[in-house]
Amino acid sequence: MIYFDHAATTPVRPEVLEAMLPYFTEKFGNPSSVYKLAQANKKAIDDARATVAKILGAQPNEIYFTSGGTEADNWALKGMAEALRKQGNHLITTKIEHHAVLHTCEDLEKHGFEVTYLDVDENGLVTPEQVEKAIKKETILISIMYANNEIGTIMPIAEIGKIARKHGVIFHTDAVQAVGQLRIDVNRDQIDLLSLSGHKFYGPKGVGALYVRRGLPLPSLLHGGGQERRRRAGTENVPGIVGMAKALELAYQDLEAKTAKIQALRDYMIEGIYQRIPHCRLNGHRTLRLPNNVNFSFAFVEGESLLLLLDMEGIAASSGSACTSGSLDPSHVLLAIGLPHELAHGSLRLTLGEDNTREEVDLLLEKLPLFVQRMREMSPLYEDYLKQNSSAELQK
């Protein structure tokens, strides 16, 4: 199989699994217990916390483990909204956030909060000026993703952080797609809260983390036992936490070398598609882009049918966000960057990983043009287009 869907999820690395395994069986104790078996697990969690903290430039006691990116996003937004309600009821985000942020914002709107959803340009960018303009005295939280999961555009996070700090507004970033690919420093970027998710960087599913700047009055989202310094209840997912930390550590070993390789492959794929397939466009910013992200729209073709054809060749890809495939609506991200509906429906996302090879990309570049052509020949929209063009020719 050729796997080009690393933005949806990644396999757990063998080293990561190996680090996790003892915590399922011999080292299975509940970290809250007093005896040695359990205390060793408490230490494993503390070590994992230190690892995560170090990579983000944070302190260990600013890291809270969660069940994933979704919980981290929900917690950051709902928690800060609840904590700061007395100060104001206004939040700022963008139109291209992940649903974990957008649907949470919609839920907050139902509870009396007002949310500004900033437009993005044709490349998926917001400008720091837009953010600054949107701030008003009721603004309590800015939540803007580090990098977009569909089109890979990287936001000007440090500049936004600066503006947030200047205006005394708390700044959350959903860094689920950025962590493991970009070097992040919560102090450099002046980030107050940051979400990440283990399975996006060769760690396990079902575990994530929220960075919470020291001193923030974030209340619990999940109430119960005293775990995570009384802020996130629930028996700790020890193997998951250990695995995520291990995966993060591996991801940032030789990051630059790995990134350079993946990015070269990405650019090779982009060029190859442009050369071989007419009527297509690259979605997302050409350079302010995650090293592993390729996203194209092909006119006259619907995306899912391409996915099926690719799947038959053993190539796994995605059309828009994997997490939204329960819906028929075209991706909100692609609409927000100005694509007409039919082009948004015709999008294909290919996200690379450390193990992808040039040969695999070559196979894609061989097959994809055939599949696009095949679907176009079946498409009444392409038929119309050809007729219009030939009648235009005739009229010349």
């Binding site: 619907e302 049918s305 819906s327 028929l328 039919e342 079946m378 392409y382 038929e383």
Partner: protein, 146 residues
């Protein structure tokens, strides 16, 4: 997600293309919604002698187009009129709930083509209503919620 039949009908679509001298043509769907189906019919002596389609849409849309055109070929108009979207979905060994609208599209496509035929030949086909204009049709998307 898809049954083998759906995948088969998608991978080996039948009846793709146009019928230049079609007796009835119907287009339904809307690019906004991600699927458009165009059905061509050749009708003689009340019998559907040939049927072809062009479809912009997902795997299920292509598969239902194939299945529908297969099912109606050789049938009388009355027989074809009795084919429902449920029949098409059943013939495909079922469709995921979220994709049932594709089978509806197929049924509507057939009816639009028959309507076109009836209009051209000043006939009335029992039970046949004028299709809604596909351009402003905003067919409600049934989300995957239960």
């Amino acid at each position: 997600m898809y049954s083998e039949k759906v995948i088969n009908c998608f991978m080996n679509p039948q009846n793709v293309g146009e019928i230049p001298d079609a007796d009835g043509v119907g287009t339904v769907g809307n690019p906004r919604c991600g699927d458009i189906m165009k059905i061509y019919l050749k009708i003689k002596d009340n019998i559907i002698e040939d049927a072809k389609f062009k479809t912009f849409g997902c795997g299920a849309a292509v598969a239902t187009s194939t299945m529908l055109t297969q099912m109606i070929k050789g049938k009388t108009i009355d027989e074809a009129m009795k084919i429902t979207n449920q029949d098409v979905a059943k013939a495909l060994d079922g469709l995921p709930p979220i994709k049932m609208h594709c089978s509806l599209l197929a049924e509507e496509g057939l009816k639009a083509a028959l309507w076109d035929y009836a209009q051209k030949n000043q006939l009335t086909i029992e039970g046949l209503e004028p299709p809604e204009s596909s351009e402003d049709e905003e067919h409600a998307h049934s989300e995957a919620a239960e």
